[in-house]
Point group: C2
DNA sequence: TTTTGTGAACTAGTTCACAGCT
DNA sequence: AGCTGTGAACTAGTTCACAAAA
């Protein structure tokens, strides 16, 4: 272990929570920039977007000294820094595995393009779908072509939107093709090697946890 | 403050994290039950599904003494308890606001029906969509009818799947109609009264946090 | 013996509060 | 004066480890 550059500690692992917040901060800054705001203090940012000022400062300070004491942060400059930190200074290329309702909806989701992601390809096993395109124009390939297309199109992230029973299979295909990051929408957790970053969006768990809080509320009313 | 029943503490707030895990446990138990497994220890459950045994026990013990020492948990019995805790012992009724690609995909998402949710109605503002149905048969209503349909159909949960700029408006409509739980897919955080439970699924943040970890990996390779 | 349920110990994450810079 | 960057204090969440039960 050698001495590290303080502003950009390389060895340590940044938490999932911090990573998510950086993305939130960038969105806030986009809003402010669009409104013509030039500088913003952590306090003002926190108040406007219901965040915590100290946390904003700590999250940002971890990556460098972006602020100016007595002033705050220059919106455009911080935006630029955040885009770089989030890897958005170049186009991030995404493939979606599964051209069902959900896969097709994600392929054409405007939020992704907006922030600079390129949805490059869809994959499916169903004969009738292969060769067709999503409404937004994303081409559907046979899953057998995955490795080839990943290389050719330099895919960075694979999105898994297939039924639960085929999810582990397709993620294996993705990993073998060299994909290092996976966004999984299928229920149940997938196994990936430690070098691959996996993020789960579990729709059923989300709904069920809401149902849980409703049920608790009911119990509270009943039991006093 | 009066003395509480230990097995079901009513006053305390259960964390989001715990709520999500309960839902995960239920899914694991469904798998085990389908495989004909009668009893399972927290250790075996943890190993099979990559969880922590102590955490499983703690999460469950908070709601009652469901286990048998020396044996473990009876799968069917624990399943029944969890379904009750999660409020799934009755049909949970869901409305989706926004009949775009995402709203329609969610309306027909098989995972929801499977676990006993009923997707009862879609809502949109677009003339051409109103009166039509999703492929799976969920009817699309005008947003103006929301209050009426919520009452008639006894909606428990509203899912927000509209563009960012109309999200706060539709969630206000939902809250005014008496909805107590909202699953929000639109980017940016919505304001709801404290009595309403809001859960955000932010697709852009999910992708960006993956992009962040890829970018860090690159930096690590470059900087040693 | 096996395995739960749980206090205690530990780890991670958040917020406070202030020295120090502009 | 105003605001950042950050150590210290605090809060939340997880894991350990073991007494008690079957």
């Amino acid at each position: 272990m050698t001495e590290r550059n303080k502003a950009r500690p390389v060895g340590e692992q940044v938490s999932e929570l911090t990573a998510g917040r950086l993305s939130v901060y960038l969105r806030c800054l986009n809003t402010l920039d669009a409104a013509g705001v030039k500088t913003i203090s952590s306090k003002a940012l926190a108040e406007q977007f219901q965040l915590n000022a100290a946390q904003i400062r700590k999250d940002l300070a971890y990556f460098g000294e972006f602020g100016v004491r007595g002033v705050g942060y220059y919106v455009k400059e911080l935006k630029r820094h955040l885009r770089m930190i989030l890897g958005l200074d170049r186009t991030v290329r995404v493939a979606i595995l599964g051209a069902g309702n959900l896969g097709l909806a994600l392929a054409d989701y405007p939020g992704f393009r907006q922030e600079g992601f390129a949805i490059v390809a869809l994959f499916d096993t169903e004969r009738g779908k292969i060769g067709r395109r999503s409404r937004g124009g994303v081409r559907i390939y046979a899953i057998g072509e995955f490795r080839k297309v990943v290389k050719r199109e330099r895919i960075d992230i694979a999105v898994v939107a297939v039924p639960a029973d085929s999810a582990q299979g397709v993620v294996n295909t993705a990993v073998q093709a060299g994909v290092r990051a996976v966004l999984n929408f299928s229920p149940g957790s997938l196994k990936v090697p430690p070098a691959v970053k996996l993020k789960n969006v579990d729709l059923t768990v989300s709904l069920e946890s809401l149902s849980f809080f409703l049920a608790r509320e009911q119990a509270e009313v009943a039991n006093g």
